[in-house]
């Protein structure tokens, strides 16, 4: 049973690692997440994407994908869904400086998605505290859904 998602990012702020605490290479704590069709479609609507591969079961079944799928960028939701409330990604003031993602297998509604994640590097540039993080999502068959790297500027 999924626990309620905490939307107040201040609440657990004191428990999160700050830039000084983050150890490149150390695994982050992650949570398995059941990706529902409802969550997929809520994400799609938020970016105005009503493609029938995400909404029309008959169309999707006849497509090369054989059924409804999630759009590649569903990792935007999965990053928060698969990390706990004390994860440092939620620290108020975290600035997203850029991302790169590679896509393998599409995620599908009903699948339990897992995440392996860690910081890869941290550095200071022009007075800003950067962390590079590495994230890989897997489907229940152990196949890679997508793998991504993010650059964030940590709150001072």
């Amino acid at each position: 049973m999924a626990t309620r998602f905490e939307t107040d990012f201040w609440k657990d702020a004191a428990t999160r690692k700050i830039w000084d605490d983050i150890v490149p290479g150390a695994p982050r704590k992650t949570l398995p997440y059941t990706l529902t069709l409802d969550a997929i479609q809520r994400y799609c609507r938020a970016v105005g994407d009503l493609h029938p591969l995400y909404f029309d079961e008959d169309y999707a079944r006849r497509s090369r994908y054989g059924g409804l799928i999630a759009p590649p960028s569903i990792h935007i939701l999965l990053m928060f869904a698969c990390t706990p409330a004390d994860d440092w990604m939620r620290s108020p003031g975290t600035i997203n400086a850029g991302q790169s993602w590679s896509y393998n297998e599409p995620a599908r509604p009903g699948e339990v998605v897992t995440l392996e994640a860690r910081a890869l590097d941290k550095f200071i540039k022009k007075g800003r505290l950067f962390v590079i993080h590495d994230n890989v999502f897997f489907n229940p068959r152990g196949e890679v859904i997508c793998a991504g790297r993010g650059w964030t500027i940590r709150p001072a």
């Binding site: 939307t7 994400y43 960028s73 108020p92 991302q99």
Partner: protein, 153 residues
């Protein structure tokens, strides 16, 4: 009928759909992404400075840019029987409520590898003042057996 990959040429343009940014669209993205960072919700908080940056008010999630670029690429790829394989972006300027933004792409290069065929696409998002707010690069795969559309029937 000629293969979609063969018809592509460097410089070919891909147009995405315009997106109107509002407090409501930002809030909807919070609920859709579970990213409730106060950068996107709390005007009082946003009067402060972040490192060396002061935004002066709430800003859109940078990942909305990412999602809009990805949507443009999947719309284009599905129709060509191709697969959106990679997207790399960096943010150049904040996007605020009231802005209108539009993704666009341009074919930069085509490359055949031992097992497949790839198209590199330069992408960006421009606002209503024609300023670039995000820029990046994407890779779309055209499998050798790709058909003419995302649907097999």
């Amino acid at each position: 009928m000629t293969d979609p990959f063969d018809r592509l040429a460097p410089g070919d343009r891909i147009d995405g759909a315009e997106f109107a940014v509002s407090r409501e669209s930002i809030r909807a993205f919070c609920d859709a992404s579970l990213d409730y960072n106060p950068l996107h919700l709390d005007d009082a908080y946003m009067q402060g400075s972040f490192g060396k940056t002061n935004f002066g008010g709430v800003i859109m999630h940078g990942m909305t840019n990412f999602g809009l670029l990805s949507r443009m690429l999947t719309d284009w790829a599905y129709a060509a029987g191709a697969v959106h394989r990679r997207l790399e972006t960096r943010w150049l300027a904040p996007v605020r409520p009231g802005d209108r933004i539009r993704p666009l792409g341009r074919v930069a290069a085509k490359q055949a590898t031992a097992k497949s065929r790839w198209v590199t696409i330069e992408v960006e998002i421009r606002n209503q003042r024609d300023e670039a707010v995000a820029r990046g690069e994407a890779l779309v795969e055209f499998p050798a057996s790709s058909g003419q559309s995302g649907q097999s029937s």
